[in-house]
């Protein structure tokens, strides 16, 4: 294959990755933006989404398309509920102290991951895609489902945007983000906003996982990479800034696709992690420092 088509393939793969990454990272970004909590267990919510999708498609007697759609509805609900409980029973009791919540979410990471290992097992299992369509380019064929993933992720992101800017709940969340004390003084139930935000963030990760699981198989350790990449995206884009997160997801997704294809996936990750460290060191104010 010549360089041009090769690059095109790399960019296609990168776009798919960017779309899923944007969805996962928006969840993380939302949680940090509103609650100032760095959720290290975010990758495990992603993993739980994929595992739930496997259970749903495997045990419900539907054809693949409907089973997958059911998973897309059920997995975010289940994972959101788990996150809600985690917020009420752990994070709230820590009064959302930044360092304590990181330690607690590391604990949560192991708890969720090992619970998945116990009940789901160590095997990677496939989920059948809702449809099989092969797009034939002049140089290579490409999965139509992958392009559908990009479309679906875009729609969900649009939904999140509409929710945040056009609904009362979104307004309340933004108000809490800007000034928690004043929001409480105006009668907003901040506890419920926090729990809801944490659940929403987890549900978005789960939705991203349901989109990707027909391509990537469900495995109990699969949360590691999405977590790392979401961190990278969210930090480069500016924690809490949804627009920044989208832009960064696109940059990281595409460059990861290209570097992985032409050099090695490990090198792509090394560059990205170092980039994050340096961004945090040299532009701390612009990224973490949006003081409220």
């Amino acid at each position: 294959m010549a360089f041009g088509p090769f690059l095109f393939l790399a960019l296609l793969e990168g776009t798919v990755m960017a779309a899923v990454l944007a969805l996962t990272a928006i969840g993380l970004s939302l949680v940090f933006g509103v609650m100032r909590v760095v959720n290290v267990a975010h990758g495990e919510f992603f993993m739980l989404g994929a595992v739930t999708a496997w259970f749903v498609t495997h045990y419900l007697p539907f054809p693949p398309a409907i089973g997958w759609l059911a998973a897309l509805l059920i997995a975010p609900l289940v994972v959101g509920a788990i996150a809600w409980l985690a917020d009420v029973f752990v994070l709230k009791r820590l009064k959302y102290d930044p360092e304590a919540t990181i330690v607690a979410t590391i604990g949560l990471l192991y708890i969720l991951q090992q619970t998945a290992l116990t009940f789901y097992g160590p095997d990677a299992r496939p989920v059948e895609p809702p449809f099989n369509l092969r797009l034939q380019f002049p140089w290579f064929g490409y999965s139509g489902y992958k392009l559908f993933v990009v479309l679906a992720a875009g729609l969900i992101l649009l939904g999140v945007w509409a929710f945040m800017t056009r609904t009362k709940a979104g307004l309340v969340m933004r108000a809490t983000q800007v000034d928690m004390e004043t929001a409480r003084a105006f009668g907003i139930n901040v506890d419920r906003v926090y729990a809801g935000t944490f659940a929403l963030g987890a549900a978005l990760a789960a939705a991203a996982a349901v989109l990707i699981v027909p391509i990537q198989q469900a495995h109990y350790l699969m949360g590691h990479d999405p977590l790392l990449l979401s961190f990278i995206v969210v930090i480069i884009g500016g924690l809490g800034s949804l627009r920044g997160t989208l832009v960064a997801a696109l940059i990281i997704g595409l460059s990861d696709g290209v570097i992985s294809m032409f050099f090695s996936p490990t090198l792509a990750k090394i560059i990205a992690t170092l980039l994050v460290a340096l961004v945090l060191v040299f532009r701390p104010q612009g990224l973490f420092g949006a003081k409220t």
Binding site: G107, K269, T273, A277
Partner: protein, 314 residues
């Protein structure tokens, strides 16, 4: 600040008990305790940064692995003798901690945690990427000829236990001296109120960097010793799990106590050991312990005891 009698007696007593223990413990447990002693040196280093200076790092696996590879690679590729190799490991840990500190200490709190995490992750990935030089994720076995020091074969039980004990004793006594020295007090001042100590004329950056380098030296020495005593160098020791374990040991035993890291390592090691007899999901214990500790006992075992009465506990 001179050492008063009670703390000194306590720490020397612990060393004496550990010395006596090797004659009573069955071989399996003796090896476990040697591992625990080396891991506690790592945790003591972590404690100097986290417990005393307030630097919550998520990247100490990097320094541990630096020590391990700093010891292992010269032996593997250049055929170095064990003692210079161990020193190379010690230096590698401290040097890398200094380098990371120069950059990471420009941030604080949550940013510091993430920056150290990212550096450690980049280090781990680099080990995998350079797999022709480092053995990648398979790692390599340390040549048994390079595990002989002064005629003692460190791959056999008694010399290994003694080597671990000597290292542990030296590390603990230095730690005890350090935290009671004027510099140790300044470290605590950084943890408690950085602005006020700055106002008193201390340079927070310099103090924190020094503490981090000392912490890195501990981690590097522990990594080098671990590789030497147990004969294996591998990239697993650079994973995030090895940054979290010392944090867990310190949180469990009691942050800011000298014996806490050992107590935490001892309890956690056996908790994991017992749990892994029942289930493959034994890391669940690690997660549950972290959550329970941070919720109900943020000061750890010895921190709580110190609060409840034993005020002299260092």
């Amino acid at each position: 600040m001179s050492l008063s009698a009670k703390p000194l007696a306590l720490h020397l007593g612990l060393i004496a008990v550990l010395f006596a223990a090797q004659f009573m413990l069955p071989s399996y447990h003796a090896t476990n305790v040697s591992r625990i002693m080396v891991l506690s040196v790592f945790a003591m280093g972590y404690n100097i940064a986290f417990g005393y200076t307030g630097l919550l790092s998520l990247g100490h696996a990097l320094f541990f692995a630096a020590g391990m590879y700093g010891m292992g690679l010269p032996i593997w590729t250049l055929g170095w003798a064990p003692v210079p190799a161990l020193i190379a490991g010690l230096v590698a840990g401290g040097a890398l901690a200094g380098l990371v500190g120069l950059l990471a200490l420009r941030t604080a709190g949550v940013s510091f945690m993430i920056v150290t995490l990212m550096f450690a992750q980049a280090g781990y990935l680099t080990l995998l990427y350079l797999n022709t030089h480092t053995g990648g994720d398979e790692g390599f076995v340390v040549d048994s000829a390079a595990r002989m020091i002064a005629g003692f074969d460190l791959s056999t039980d008694t010399p290994r236990y003694m080597a671990a004990l000597i290292l542990f004793a030296i590390a603990m006594l230095i730690c005890l001296w350090l935290v009671r020295s004027p510099f140790g007090r300044v470290m605590v001042a950084m943890r408690e109120n950085e602005e006020r100590s700055r106002m008193l004329g201390y340079n927070p950056f310099r103090v924190k960097l020094t503490a981090l380098v000392i912490s890195g030296l501990y981690a590097g020495m522990a990594g080098a010793a671990y590789g030497m005593l147990f004969g294996y160098v591998g990239a697993t020791f650079a994973t995030i799990q090895y940054s979290i374990l010392p944090m867990l040991y310190v949180l469990l035993g009691g942050a800011g106590t000298v014996i806490g890291p050992f107590l935490g390592a001892l309890l956690m090691f056996y908790l994991i050991d017992i749990a892994s007899g029942y289930t493959t999901a034994y890391l669940f214990v690690v997660g549950a312990a972290l959550v329970v500790l941070v919720l109900f006992a943020p000061k750890g075992i010895l921190g709580t005891i110190r609060e409840r009465g034993l005020k002299w506990l260092p």
